[in-house]
């Protein structure tokens, strides 16, 4: 009887330990080029299982320290990112860039207290205005992974131009269209282009702050860089790293189709529910979270298309 009880207790406590979540993002730095590394997120939406690890963040090892590109979706992520970076280099963070004001890209800022955090002015404003609301949303979507996370705004702003950081030439591109401020960073030494969320790869783009015309123009700017002789790789905001411009073309094709589909649906007289029920074209059928992002995008983009299609009544 005693034995049985002991066994029961042991089994029970094992179960308890197993049920206790570790909140480990399992971040593994993927080498893209000499001194350039990326933590590749999952092709998913936010969940209590992935804790918001759906985003690509990265870092460049320079002579003066680590240049960090985006800080991830939570305080825990930012802390774990630092631990994972130390496995690659003992150097301390030199500077953090936030590519734009979406929460999966900057809510790890808190873990980089004391390090300059820089972004475009529009991004800084967006984080100041909406950061807390975003954090609340992520608590709802990702649960306890978010524990202790607070929105921390960038400490300084930057504009387009070529800068030297730790002896490394970085080309900063102040673009927009995915949001009001989208920073792309081209590391001239390695030829690696950090595109932020202007580029998605085999994962449907998100559009809550999108202006499609501007986004398409920004993609043209990025594609021109991929034609430069030194270009070696694109790091998209979401999805796998590539050595060619394919994800730029795919993102462009999705945005053009989406824009056209909204206009056509509005011209055809469809109601919002009917637009939502439409299938994806075959070319996007394999894209991760395609239907989910399509439905969200309808909510963001259809009202304007609809308004354009309806004539003024007197």
């Amino acid at each position: 009887m005693k034995h049985l009880l002991a066994c029961l207790l042991a089994c029970f406590s094992t179960a308890l330990v197993a049920a206790e979540p570790a909140f480990d993002y399992g971040l593994q730095a993927q080498r893209v080029a000499d001194d350039v590394y990326v933590f590749v997120g999952r092709d998913e939406d936010f969940s209590t299982v992935n804790g918001g690890n759906i985003v690509n963040t990265g870092f460049i090892v320079t002579a003066a320290g680590l240049v960090v590109i985006d800080s991830g979706p939570s305080l825990r992520y930012g802390q774990q990112m630092q631990r994972a970076m130390r496995q690659v280099s003992p150097a301390a963070p030199l500077q953090v860039f936030n590519t734009h004001h979406h929460p999966d890209h900057f809510l790890g800022n808190q873990a980089f207290a004391g390090t300059p955090i820089v972004a475009l002015e529009a991004t800084r404003q967006g984080i100041a205005a909406e950061g807390n609301t975003f954090a609340e949303n992520l608590y709802r979507l990702s649960g306890d992974w978010m524990k202790g996370t607070e929105s921390v705004a960038p400490t300084a702003t930057i504009t387009s131009g070529r800068i030297q950081l730790g002896g490394r030439a970085l080309r900063l591109l102040a673009l927009n269209g995915h949001t009001e401020g989208d920073l792309a960073i081209y590391d001239e030494t390695s030829g690696v282009l950090f595109a932020g969320d202007l580029v998605f790869n085999n994962r449907a783009p998100t559009t809550p702050h999108a202006r499609i015309e501007r986004w398409l123009a920004s993609l043209d700017t990025l594609e021109a860089i991929t034609r430069e002789p030194g270009f070696s790789a694109i790091v998209p905001g979401h999805g796998a790293i590539t050595r060619d411009a394919a994800p730029i073309r795919q993102t462009r094709a999705w945005l053009r189709w989406l824009d056209q589909a909204m206009r056509q649906a509005a011209a055809d007289g469809l109601d919002l529910n009917e637009v939502l029920a439409r299938p994806l074209p075959a070319e996007f059928a394999g894209m991760a979270v395609g239907m989910r992002e399509y439905r969200r995008s309808v909510g963001h983009l259809f009202p304007a298309a609809e308004q354009e299609a309806l004539g003024h009544a007197h």
């Binding site: 007289g269 919002l272 029920a277 609809e306 309806l310 004539g311 009544a313």
Partner: protein, 227 residues
């Protein structure tokens, strides 16, 4: 199935949840609907399978203002598309009274992050929009699958009165009639209808339509919608 209303009130897919003469709700645990914009939840009520319909009442059980809208189809079909603000996840239902005096009830569960009724309208935040108050844009479709369709958008903040310092300010009624003054449909709108409401109606054939409306502050409009 045949003689019950169909309610579409879902961001992720159209649901044909049909519960005749019983106030049952099929619950749906689809994470996707958690991402629904609570300010613009699309609802399509299609009671055309019920025969002659006199009155339709649409309501959301857990909304602070339960009643959303009523409509009275005359020569237009017993069909109406519109959008609502929801404060939290709730059943959205339609009660349909047919010419034989019977009420038919159908509904669906809508998951939403909520807050739609206590968020200020965009117009309240930027009052210059109100210069366009009650401006109507509209269009009719004359051919194809959707022949006879009419869509109508009215600029109005549709303030619920549940936001501190912003009194209730909403459209109360829209009457649609044809060129010989025969009624197509009368719609009574309440606070939960979305800002700048858009309505989708179905007539037998397109023709000149007059739309007359007023809000709770006595502002009104009267426009012609050409076919």
């Amino acid at each position: 199935m045949g003689d019950a209303p169909t309610i579409h009130a879902n961001m992720s897919r159209i649901l044909d949840i049909v519960i005749d003469r019983k106030a049952q709700i099929a619950e749906m645990n689809d994470q996707v609907t958690n991402l629904l914009n609570p300010m613009q939840v699309p609802v399509t009520v299609d009671a055309t399978a019920l025969g002659k319909v006199l009155e339709v009442i649409v309501f959301a059980d857990f909304n602070p203002i339960v009643q959303i809208l009523r409509f009275y189809p005359a020569s237009a079909s017993a069909y109406l598309g519109f959008r609502v603000k929801l404060q939290q996840s709730t059943p959205v239902r339609a009660a349909v009274r047919t010419a034989d005096g019977v009420w038919h009830v159908g509904g669906t569960w809508v998951n939403t992050v909520g807050g739609g009724c206590t968020a200020p309208s965009a117009a309240a935040a930027a009052p210059e929009w109100q210069k366009q108050l009650n401006q109507v844009s509209a269009r009719q479709w004359q051919s194809g699958e959707l022949a006879g369709r009419l869509r109508l958008r009215v600029v109005h903040p549709m303030d619920t009165g549940l936001v501190a310092g912003i009194p209730a300010f909403h459209l109360q009624e829209i009457r649609l009639s044809d060129s010989s003054d025969q009624a197509l449909m009368r719609i009574e709108t309440f606070e939960p209808v979305s800002e700048n409401p858009v309505f989708t109606l179905q007539q037998k054939t397109a023709g000149r339509v007059k739309a007359i409306g007023r809000d709770n502050n006595g502002n009104d409009f009267s426009v012609w919608i050409e076919p």
